[in-house]
Symmetry: C2
Amino acid sequence: MEVRPPYLIFLGDAPDDLTAKTGHGIVNWRPQLALAQSRLPQCKADLGIPEMSPQEAASAGARTFVIGTVNFGGVIPPEWTGTIVSALEAGMDVASGLHTPLESIAPIAEAAERAGAKLLNVRHTNRVFKTGTGVKRSGKRLLTVGTDCSIGKMFTSLSIERDLRQLGVSADFRASGQTGILIAGRGVAVDAVVADFIAGAAEWLSPSADEDHWDVVEGQGSLFHPAFAGVSLGLLHGTQPDAIVVCHEPTRKTLLKTEIPMPSIEDVIEMTLRAGRVVNRDIRCVGVSLNTCQLSGTETTRLIDETSARLSLPVTDPAKFGVRTITERLLGG
Amino acid sequence: MEVRPPYLIFLGDAPDDLTAKTGHGIVNWRPQLALAQSRLPQCKADLGIPEMSPQEAASAGARTFVIGTVNFGGVIPPEWTGTIVSALEAGMDVASGLHTPLESIAPIAEAAERAGAKLLNVRHTNRVFKTGTGVKRSGKRLLTVGTDCSIGKMFTSLSIERDLRQLGVSADFRASGQTGILIAGRGVAVDAVVADFIAGAAEWLSPSADEDHWDVVEGQGSLFHPAFAGVSLGLLHGTQPDAIVVCHEPTRKTLLKTEIPMPSIEDVIEMTLRAGRVVNRDIRCVGVSLNTCQLSGTETTRLIDETSARLSLPVTDPAKFGVRTITERLLGG
């Protein structure tokens, strides 16, 4: 799945900036891809980049119209259709991370057909993968894993990629979910792959590389989540990581959309290392990433210090303090 | 996925009885479903049931023409097309566990269309599943798990179902793979489900039931196999088993199609119980099923005794000694 840059990022009628999180993610992590934004009149989100119509953006070189808004239920509302059709008529591809396939909306399918443009539903995949082999690949891999879903794995992975590059280390973020794919411009939504091929898709996602190159693979789900653990385990086996970083949200009490208590960070480390040894005997945990947005400054500092002392690992909140302690541990041996 | 009985079982040009293993499985485990067999002239396999042409079988009440042969690569050879078309013209559905979708062969697709008959590719699934919930269901469940793929999980599950029924216990085999589905006449090929829905499909497969009913769920893959562990874990979480039985082949040195050493039975018990506790705190191992077809009688007895003493569990080879020691442990508490 490849999304051609640069992008015109469409925010639709997003009522706030949180709803436009895909757009903000692109501007934050890949500003060079974000040529301009396009918004409907009632939109309250703003990416702080130039405003252009689809025609203006296409003339300025934009190649893909990216839907940068995540709305409830993942549907494409009828009010967006006119703008999406204009983008196709202006010659751009259209990329969406929403559940509704773009081609299921007749005017969009017809406009794409007329223009010979691509409709990219990054949440789905048509690619045929092989089953996993477990054969060791060259290069190095880090996988972010979580005590739960939606807990900061993408943000942590992008933070580590950025920090490694700042340290002069060859590193690539490898996207395994729809938002990550739109940010990186490529990747595979592993939860949309047929079950038999999860590990094979993960092997494809982080291929053989130079010995000193790090692929930073975005994790999915949690080995402890009753709905998504299969995806997490397939991704772990296919990635065959040398290093893992555990992501956690300290105020969450139960696993997403369940009444099952959260596992401890220790549980996740032990289970991940144990399962990961099947494909990489040298797998190790190099840090913990806490999402402390619900905590005060004092609470955050105390929790980080306590957790770090308890686990003898670097612990940080990437959004507040960066990830240098983790990358130093990673590169230090 | 429902396959309507009774069946005309088609063996094609199977060179031996091993190739006709699906047909033999149906006759062995569900003789009441097997009305007759149909074979091409060069066929060397024999199910020991009446021989009928598609027309004769349809007149005698057969409702589904089941392909009972597993051939290398899972393709449907051109020599089979004529007989399959005759079955459709005689008014039967056609069911196949092979990789090639039946409708990909034009004369078969056209004949099904003309006859208004169903083409059932049990290895694929069109059903839309929900994501797993982890919510506890009523009734009891046993899951067979393996140190590896293709190690006797289906055979063990069917043996346990049969033995429980002989003991007067309400029990149902729940098929999770294509051969099992053709034997049971229903089920879901969990490895063909989209990754996000593995656990949800497993929850659907063994629904709420009477408190004293046992669903015996056919396991898939192995938590230690680098290609298929995601399927195994999703199936474990969705099944939320009260009991597991570990299947093992003692002479196998490396995991199927890999160079990775086999895990020990202890490894599999520990990992399965640990992962299974997320959805069922009372999960326990009630026995070990060994496939000892490569061993002599003396070797088999010694290995069973040693393994049983080491693990303090009932250990048996279902094909040689049945599974009564396991069902007694299961029901004994």
